[in-house]
């Protein structure tokens, strides 16, 4: 991995993160004057003014922004007024349980979506292909919250096989992971199929066939590595969908992770926790996309080489 490629991607990631901080700073200021809130509605103007000075609100906006960014960078994300604890602790405490659900769902969606997409492309126009594409469209159109409710109706209330809420046992994991996983499996299958079809139509595939490379080797050494490149990029975007889906799925199944925390914090207007959650989500997503960018350079040597020569 060369340094220049790494540095430009890292620079872009830092810039994106700064924009996120800027966004929160703007809506924080739009939300109202914190000095007025702290002093109370009927406080005399001198008191409010003193609070403004104490909070640094009398300084020019760019300076306020720099101070704000510096305090965030130092790990000070404010306190949750509901729990009266640092907001970061409240979020970190719930994080593992969301990662657990997210990882299982991701593995599930990859192990369904990728083989399905590959088979659909290889057997284009057959029943398998049509099945895969129907599955993909259904997965895309059936909203998480509705699928979750249908599953609860069937497996919890009607058949009484699975618990409808909580996260204590493995049984609790089945429905949330399935709900979150299948929607993504559909999208991944669809994307894998089109990436695969594109590779299969390329000249080098025809050449490989003409010179007598066996079918298995053509598939594993020629087609799959080339199809993997767009699929890996696509996965970077998918992680965002997975986070969005987790918010819904955790609410439906009362899964006590960060998604549910987000909803309860938004409902209670526990702004420090909301702020911490947005920053953490952004950080995770930006890191994931950076990792995807780097993986992309590692899978595809052409990008690495191009990064060395050209101005990015």
């Amino acid at each position: 991995m060369n340094l220049r490629f790494f540095a430009t991607r890292l620079g872009r990631a830092v810039l994106t993160m700064l924009l996120v901080v800027g966004f929160i700073f703007v809506i924080l200021r739009l939300a109202g004057d914190p000095a007025q809130v702290m002093a109370g509605d009927d406080a005399p103007p001198e008191v409010v003014e003193r609070y403004q000075v104490a909070l640094g609100l009398d300084r020019p906006l760019p300076e306020q922004f720099l101070r704000y960014t510096a305090s965030l960078a130092a790990g000070d994300l404010g306190r949750s007024f509901k729990d009266n604890r640092p907001a970061l602790d409240v979020v970190l405490e719930r994080l593992p349980i969301t990662l657990y659900l997210g990882l299982v769902a991701l593995i599930l969606s990859l192990s369904i979506g990728i083989p399905l997409g590959i088979f659909a492309a290889l057997k284009r126009g057959t029943a398998i292909d049509r099945f895969a594409m129907t599955f993909a469209v259904l997965g895309y159109s059936l909203p998480n919250f509705f699928l979750g409710i249908l599953l609860i109706l069937l497996f919890s209330l009607h058949l009484r096989w699975l618990p409808s809420s909580g996260s204590e046992t493995l049984w609790h994991l089945i429905m949330p992971a399935f709900t979150l996983g299948t929607a993504h499996a559909g999208g991944i299958a669809r994307f894998t199929r089109s990436a695969m079809l594109e590779v299969l139509n390329r000249n080098f595939m025809r050449t490989a066939k003409a010179k007598g490379v066996p079918h298995q080797r053509r598939l594993y050494r020629h087609a799959l590595p080339n199809a993997a490149i767009p699929v890996v990029t696509h996965l970077g975007f998918r992680i965002g969908h997975l986070v969005a889906g987790a918010i819904i799925v955790e609410t439906v199944f009362a899964w006590p992770g960060v998604g549910r925390l987000m909803i309860s914090a938004v409902a209670a207007r526990d702004l420090a926790v909301v702020q911490a959650l947005v920053l953490m989500t952004a950080l995770a997503m930006i890191a994931a996309n950076l990792a995807v960018d780097l993986a992309y350079g590692w899978i595809d040597p052409r990008i690495r080489v191009a990064g060395e020569r050209r101005e990015p």
């Binding site: 409710i149 609410t251 987000m262």
Partner: protein, 290 residues
């Protein structure tokens, strides 16, 4: 339809309609029904949406053995679900249509601006596009609603802001390539001002791609409204929307599952129909995208 500009194209289009696949036809029919409900909600609703009938709470739909005056049963306050569903469809469609249009107009405009001015303007717009793609939009929407409080206008604006980045990216690319084409160069050579070239010549040429993008974006706006309302952060009572009905009916799954399942089914079939029609449109209107 933007395609129907000249008579030859129009006749071509109608000839094409006869070859509509069965599922697409079905989807178009369903979407037509949704538009009908949207336009004539007042005429086809049988009850006042807020009228409570506390002696008839959580009744089954008439077809499943409930009282005959409530076609689709009642909710926990004895309100008629059929009429509520009709008005929920109207609200959801209204929010989705306004949101989609805001996103389409804003994104298209910024795409043109980026492609025209290039340089730092383009870089700034593309940086914002990258930024928006970097975080799931529902997180941004929820945070904004938490900080600023929920209101109908804010929900519509937020739903409009979702998806503008896709239009901006698409339009910028298309305008860049259109600017290099002979027709744009020729018109510009004749002394036409840029706005004229963009609005009268380039925009009609990229309209097909924009329509495809619209069909991709529209289900997402429906789902975002439904998700936000489902979570209790979108459309607020006494208004009702499909997501809100689904979310509030969730507490009565055991005793009255139809409260949630009815709006959920409408959301599902609507997004499915738009996806099917959108895929078909994409194949017909813009062979280059496939």
């Amino acid at each position: 339809m933007t395609v129907a500009v000249r008579p030859t194209r129009t006749s071509q289009f109608f000839r094409g309609l006869r070859r509509v696949p069965f599922m697409v036809g079905l989807s178009l029919g369903f979407l037509g029904l949704m538009v009908f409900v949207f336009l004539f909600a007042d005429l086809i609703a049988t009850h006042d949406v807020t009228a409570q009938d506390l002696t008839n709470r959580l009744k089954r739909p008439a077809l499943l053995g409930g009282p005959p005056q409530f076609l689709l049963g009642t909710d926990e306050l004895g309100r008629d679900l059929y009429s509520r569903l009709i008005y929920a469809i109207r609200t959801s469609m209204l929010v989705a249509i306004m949101g989609s249009l805001i996103g389409a107009i804003l994104g298209t405009l910024l795409g043109f601006v980026a492609a025209h001015f290039r340089g730092i303007v383009e870089d700034t717009i593309m940086m914002l596009v990258d930024w928006q793609s970097s975080i799931p939009f529902i997180v941004i929407a929820l945070a904004t609603l938490a900080f600023l409080g929920s209101s109908f206008g804010l929900v519509v604006i937020l739903i409009g802001l979702q998806g503008w980045d896709n239009y901006a990216r698409l339009v910028r690319g298309l305008v860049h390539s259109a600017n290099g084409h002979g027709y744009a160069v020729a018109i510009r050579g004749l002394g036409a001002p840029p706005v004229y070239v963009y609005s009268r010549h380039i925009l009609p040429n990229i309209a097909a791609a924009l329509m495809v993008q619209f069909s991709l974006n529209f289900p997402e706006t429906i789902l975002l409204e439904a998700s936000l309302s489902f979570l209790g952060m979108g459309v607020q009572p006494p208004m009702t929307s499909l997501g809100l009905m689904l979310g509030s009916g969730r507490r009565f799954l055991l005793t009255a599952w139809w409260i949630s399942v009815l709006p959920g089914t409408v959301i599902f079939i609507t997004t499915l129909s738009i996806s099917l029609v959108g895929d078909w449109l994409r194949d017909r209107l813009d062979p280059t995208l496939r």
